[in-house]
């Protein structure tokens, strides 16, 4: 186990450098003139302003020079300054990260619980109507475009039936609690503001369900396959021969084993969640990293977009590392090996 994790840790810096280099090179190809978004099209003719802006944003100098500056700055945690918000990208991202994390964690919960339940039902009643239905429900989630689903959900639940609040994290008229953790659910509780907590929770329901459903498909598929594999094993018959009930056999004996191989898709699921959250945040006006990235991309704010990309890549690497560790820790046969 240690070996696998160590190897991952060892290649991580190289991959990270690769990511950084790739994003830097990408930014060099940029066709749109980023100066437009800094100083406006009217000032492009004013050589003085252009030179000042270039100097300030580090746009002068040769490509290798800029690359060196770029990597040097990154190594010191400086992702550059956003053209659009005029703030350090790292500050922007730090402000917006909790909103995204809150959404992604809730969605992961929805997806994992829903996916595992669907997988258990469909494996236990293999080839029955329930099996087909469960698989279809899971498949629909991964085939429906999340941005469209979000739109439909908003229309049905906030416009038509008024059951749930619209976009955003809190009601527009509500006073946001002081930011402590950045997690709205936690901050409202810390402030002792119960009604704001309920409001935040209600705002979270739709985006979390939409995003969660979109990853349910892969989770169901993976867990179902490994459940079917496990259910055919002798120790399952043995557990039943002990007199254990069907539910106990399914959860306690089968699921505990089936989840181990299913853990390998954790990293994969993370990629799906990032994709989904970019689109879901846009639909639900969620002030997270996804909508920040969209705004940045639209306004050719390339320090911001490369910053998001690097942080996303880093997150992806960490997710894969976590997958390895979880995989090794979950299986007693792997725990001591290596």
């Amino acid at each position: 186990m240690l070996k696998v994790v160590l190897r991952r840790l060892l290649v991580m810096p190289f991959l990270l450098l690769g990511i950084v280099t790739a994003t830097f090179l990408l930014a060099q190809f940029t066709k749109g003139n980023p100066l437009i978004s800094i100083i406006g099209a009217r000032n492009l003719d004013n050589a003085e302003i252009v030179a000042a802006a270039k100097a300030r944003w580090g746009l002068d100098g040769s490509v290798p020079e800029r690359y060196a500056t770029y990597v040097w700055n990154l190594a010191h945690g400086d992702l550059g300054t956003s053209f659009r918000t005029k703030q350090p990208v790292l500050t922007d991202l730090a402000q917006r990260l909790p909103a995204t994390l809150e959404l992604v964690i809730c969605a992961m919960f929805v997806g994992a619980v829903g996916g595992i339940v669907l997988a258990i039902v469909s494996a236990e009643f293999k080839d029955s109507f329930a099996d087909h239905l469960a698989r279809l429900v899971a498949l629909l989630g991964s085939c429906l475009p999340v941005f469209w689903l979000g739109l439909i959900a908003l229309f049905l639940f906030t416009v038509q039936t008024k059951l749930l609040p619209g976009p955003g994290r809190l009601d527009i008229r509500a006073v946001a609690p002081p930011t402590v953790t950045g997690f709205m659910l936690v901050d409202t509780l810390l402030a002792g503001n119960w009604s704001a907590f309920v409001d935040a929770l209600r705002h979270l329901i739709l985006p979390a369900l939409v995003l969660g459903w979109s990853v349910m498909g892969i989770i169901t598929r993976m867990v179902r396959a490994s459940m079917l594999d496990v259910l055919g094993q002798d120790y399952i018959t043995m557990a039943r021969a002990k007199g254990a009930g069907r539910l106990r056999v399914l959860i306690h004996h089968a699921l505990a084993n089936a989840l181990i191989p299913a853990l390998t898709i954790l990293g994969f699921t993370f990629a799906y969640l990032i994709t989904g959250s970019v689109l879901v945040e846009t639909i639900f006006s969620w002030p997270g990293i996804g909508s920040y990235a969209v705004d940045a991309a639209r306004s050719l704010d390339y320090p911001a977009i490369t910053g998001v990309t690097i942080i996303g890549g880093l997150g992806f690497l960490l997710a894969n590392l976590l997958t390895d560790i979880a995989y090794a820790a979950a299986d007693p046969r792997m725990r001591e090996a290596g």
Partner: protein
């Protein structure tokens, strides 16, 4: 005579296939008394494991079971799951063939034994359960049970695992123990040790044991009576002694001839030619006829009935006329 512990009559198990329902087991009768050891013998696919899984109610749902299975006088064939669950593990327990796959790889040995105890004694305290589990590990001769308790199956050898499986099976002092090829996956010295444990358990606890095997040596060593199954039907049934000395069914005789003996090391072992019929390819008449050296035209036309000959019951048209006691060790 008192009621037998397990009384199976006319058991049939059918498997749905592309060409309709196929009988994997048909018209099997089987009884076992308290404290008795009965060998259930046959090649793989002869229906011995299926019959016993039917007793446990553990057959896959798509298999169809009919006939009568009475346990301690109560009909349990088709009994509701709740009733079967209270029997399984408490009054009827099972030892599986392959100890490498019968234990849950992600649970400790201790947890797996404790589960068996706790399932049927929900009121027992944690300490008591552990105490009983440790005692069980000791009773199947596992050294250092305290240390072994928190280990995982992969830290045990095959023989040690089979002891654990047996310890789990006997945890609640079942009246009936079904041992499905308990030593097939183990090497010979371990086999002997495991059989020793069975013999001791039977003597100490008086449990009835159904010993499913294709190894007649094990039957000779432990069983009182034996039943030979061929292609899902009973071929011959009777007390071990008479069946061994004077088998009446050519199949039984063939199996006996295939057992190596110390007396004639140099000779080649007898092997029954051919293979058992596959499901759905059952010939008319006696299923064994195509492989039988003694088959006459009648054998290929009508299926022989089970008839009593002395202390045994045999399904062979020629049981009366054949003398098979000295068939073994002919030229192969």
């Amino acid at each position: 005579m008192s009621l037998p512990l397990l009384d199976i009559r006319g058991l049939a198990v059918t498997i749905p296939t592309r060409d309709g329902e196929q009988a994997a087991v048909s018209n099997v009768d089987f009884t076992i008394d308290r404290g008795e050891v009965v060998g259930l013998v046959g090649e793989s696919g002869s229906g011995k494991s299926l019959s016993m899984l039917a007793v446990m109610g553990l057959l896959p749902r798509h298999l169809h079971v009919s006939g009568s299975i009475r346990f301690d006088g109560v009909e349990i064939c088709g009994a509701p799951e709740r009733q079967m669950r209270s029997l399984r593990g408490r009054r009827i327990a099972m030892v599986f063939q392959d100890p490498m796959t019968a234990l849950n790889p992600v649970k400790t040995i201790g947890a797996q034994i404790s589960e068996m105890i706790r399932l049927h004694n929900p009121k027992l305290g944690r300490a008591e359960v552990k105490e009983r589990a440790l005692a069980l590990l000791e009773s199947v001769a596992i050294p250092a049970p305290e240390r072994r308790f928190d280990q995982y199956p992969h830290e045990f050898s095959g023989g040690m695992r089979q002891r654990v499986v047996i310890a789990i099976a006997i945890a609640n002092d079942p009246e009936l123990l079904i041992a499905d090829e308990p030593t097939t996956a183990l090497d010979v010295t371990i086999q002997a040790q495991i059989m020793e444990i069975f013999a001791r358990l039977r003597a100490e606890r008086g449990m009835a044991v159904v010993l499913i095997t294709h190894d007649l040596g094990l039957v000779a060593g432990l069983a009182d009576r034996m039943s030979v199954l061929y292609a899902g039907r009973v071929a011959e049934r009777g007390p071990v002694g008479p069946v061994f000395t004077a088998p009446r069914h050519p199949y039984t005789a063939g199996l006996l001839a295939a057992v190596p003996s110390i007396d004639d090391v140099a000779e080649r072992l007898y092997a029954i030619p051919g293979t058992p019929p596959s499901l759905g390819a059952r010939p008319p008449g006696c299923a064994f006829a195509p492989r039988c050296d003694f088959a006459v035209p009648l054998c290929r036309m009508s299926e022989p009935a089970l008839l009593r000959f002395g202390s045994a019951v045999v399904a062979c048209h020629r049981a009366e006329e054949l003398s098979l006691g000295d068939l073994p060790r002919k030229e192969a």
